[in-house]
């Protein structure tokens, strides 16, 4: 029975494929002089942020948990790539990625174990506090981590091929590394999409919308939140690993709470109620930040104001705004049932948790 839902899914998958195809053509556009290498470089940062944002959104969008500590897993991934060569020598990037995944898995298991005992603002504060631990550790272990100076990261062999030895750094980044990054983005997109659209993803939505009910259909709420936390942390660590090579330098800034805020920003800006929201949010964030930084040192203030205006005007992010515009246009030609207006979970959730405490 080809349902309405599966047709929608097919359209979405086609959309993602087109998006990936366009990204794959970017180096050709650069070569043709249509866009600059600098823009391509910004796009690479956007893709990395998109992976982190998608991962973060497993918690915010699908589990109703606002993590204010995703910098921790990002930094663990980045620092693993930066520091591991000191111990195991220079190796192909895949080895370092595996180590980064393992390290961020361990840290997110430990932090998640503590954090999922809490919800709402308490969850956010706990994740924030735990992240400061990582940040402090990076600063304290300066003989390994270089303290606030950070560590330089060399270009790595990819798939065992030492491109880094016969290519200049810009050439390496804009060609082979770009496609490598794109490949990992595609895989991450696929896996995270599967996770949130699987029965497990539905169970997460259940815990998000009504914890009490979820428990009374037999879902182990905390355990599922913990799983979600780990998956989220691991993909954020993966983003960090990619960042280390692209940026060529990692610093404690990546473990800073402000950086956690950037990840939150990306999801909220794009629309955390939409799977694609963080992708859109990342692209806009990276480009706007770049240009805002050029104009003023108060760019964070500007971004912050943008966020506040956005939350007030479009609580469901840019995706939400686009969605309702699209619906309005479609409604002009055909009569369609209005799409359910998404409401921010963080707010509806508070009500549920309070009701959950005592049902009367």
């Amino acid at each position: 029975m080809p349902s309405h839902a599966s047709k929608q899914v097919r359209n979405k998958i086609i959309g993602y494929l087109i998006f990936l195809l366009v990204l794959a053509l970017i180096p050709l556009f650069v070569r043709a002089g249509i866009i600059t290498e600098f823009v391509q470089n910004l796009l690479m940062y956007s893709i990395i942020f998109a992976i982190a944002g998608l991962a973060f959104n497993i918690l915010l969008g699908y589990s109703g948990l606002l993590s204010f500590g995703h910098a921790a897993y990002f930094a663990v991934g980045a620092y693993t790539v930066a520091l591991a060569p000191q111990f195991i020598g220079e190796t192909s990037f895949e080895v370092l990625i595996l180590l980064a995944l393992a390290a961020s898995a361990i840290v997110s298991m430990a932090f998640g174990y503590i954090a999922v005992r809490l919800t709402r603002i308490f969850f956010a504060i706990m994740t924030l506090a735990l992240t400061q631990l990582v940040w402090a550790l990076i600063l304290k272990l300066y003989w390994y981590t270089g303290g606030s100076d950070g560590v330089n990261v060399k270009a790595k062999p990819l798939l065992g091929i030492p491109f880094n030895e016969f290519m200049s750094r810009p050439e390496y980044l804009n060609t082979v590394f770009y496609y490598y990054l794109l490949g990992i983005f595609a895989i991450s997109l696929f896996i995270i999409w599967l996770v949130v659209n699987s029965p497990f993803g539905r169970a997460l939505l259940a815990t998000r919308d009504n914890e009490t009910r979820a428990e009374f259909v037999g879902i182990r709420v905390r355990l599922y939140r913990w799983y979600a936390f780990i998956i989220s942390g691991v993909f954020t660590g993966l983003a960090g690993a990619l960042f280390a090579v692209l940026n060529g330098h990692v610093t404690p800034e990546q473990a800073d709470w402000i950086f956690s805020g950037d990840i939150v920003f990306v999801a909220v800006l794009g629309g955390f109620r939409f799977f694609e929201g963080p992708i859109l949010g990342s692209i806009i964030f990276i480009f706007v930040r770049q240009y805002a930084m050029g104009y003023t040192i108060f760019w964070r203030l500007i971004l912050g104001s943008v966020l506040i205006v956005l939350i007030l005007a479009f609580p469901s992010g840019i995706m939400g705004a686009l969605n309702s515009i699209a619906n309005r246009i479609r409604a002009g030609s055909r009569i369609l049932p209005a799409a359910p207006t998404p409401t921010p979970t963080a707010i509806t959730d508070i009500k549920h948790h309070q009701e959950g405490g005592r049902e009367k």
Binding site: S3, P199, F216, E359
Partner: protein, 256 residues
């Protein structure tokens, strides 16, 4: 029917909240296929009784037996897995999710499939069709794709019961499935629930304030008052009991 072995019974069950003796020594039993109405004024302890049976609260004293086994100390999840399900006085639904998903999640959970993260939920055709069947038996098939929050109150109450029903329980505890809807809708709701649970021989306890509903749809009525069982018997007997009339019918007329 009530001559059958009870599937669930409690012995002298107690739950106090400080000075408040919400459940104060309740011995209750229910057999497969039976529909029992639990009535009593506001604050009588009916919801608390359900909360204790389902493990929402631990009892302060007394025992709960299910299929002959002592389950007093069993966890909430264990009780659900064993086949004890409940609905809620104030509906507890996944408001942003469709009616289909509300039921489907319960089906997935019962089948132990909620930990599958590598396959889209839409690919579980059997789960989907079972969920749709359940929606249909509650008259909600047209609403499958509607978010729970967009449903009218009567349908939300039905969906809340459908979610519990989707766990294929042997004991179903329904906490005021008709509260907050018009009396016409109350009958519609009961016309959906009662035949469905009878079909499946589910031991069903329904907490209810509306006497028409109580007398019209139950096999047996249990009256709770101040945490204790005041009377129990066939609907006819209860209707004629002086004690119940004095203590209850006056009170219930104005109840929710």
């Amino acid at each position: 029917m009530s001559s059958q072995e009870p599937i669930l019974y409690t012995v002298d069950l107690k739950k106090y909240f400080g000075e408040v003796r919400a459940v104060d020594g309740v011995s209750f039993k229910i057999s497969p296929g039976e529909v029992v109405a639990l009535i009593g004024p506001n604050g009588a302890g009916k919801t608390t009784f359900v909360n204790v049976i389902t493990g929402y609260f631990n009892p302060d004293a007394g025992k709960i037996y299910y299929q002959g086994k002592d389950i007093t100390k069993a966890s909430r999840i264990k009780k659900i897995r064993m086949g004890i399900a409940r609905s809620f006085q104030l509906v507890n639904l996944y408001d942003e999710l469709t009616a289909l998903d509300n039921v489907r999640i319960a089906v997935l959970s019962r089948l132990g499939k909620t930990s599958i993260f590598w396959k889209p939920v839409e690919r579980f055709d059997d789960v989907r069709s079972e969920a749709l069947e359940i929606l249909a038996s509650f008259g909600l098939e047209e609403k499958a794709e509607v978010p729970a929050k967009a449903l009218p109150q009567g349908e939300r109450k039905l969906l809340d019961v459908a979610v519990a029903f989707a766990l294929r329980p042997r004991v179903l505890l329904l906490d005021e499935p008709t509260s907050g809807v018009s009396s016409k809708d109350k009958h519609t709701i009961m016309e959906r629930i009662v035949p469905t649970v009878r079909n499946e021989k589910i031991a069903t306890m329904i907490i209810e304030h509306d006497m028409d509903i109580v007398f019209g749809y139950s096999d047996r009525v249990v009256v709770m008052y101040d945490g204790k069982i005041l009377a129990e018997g066939k609907p006819e007997e209860i209707r004629q009991s002086r004690e119940v009339q004095e203590k209850l019918l006056g009170v219930t007329a104005g109840a929710s």
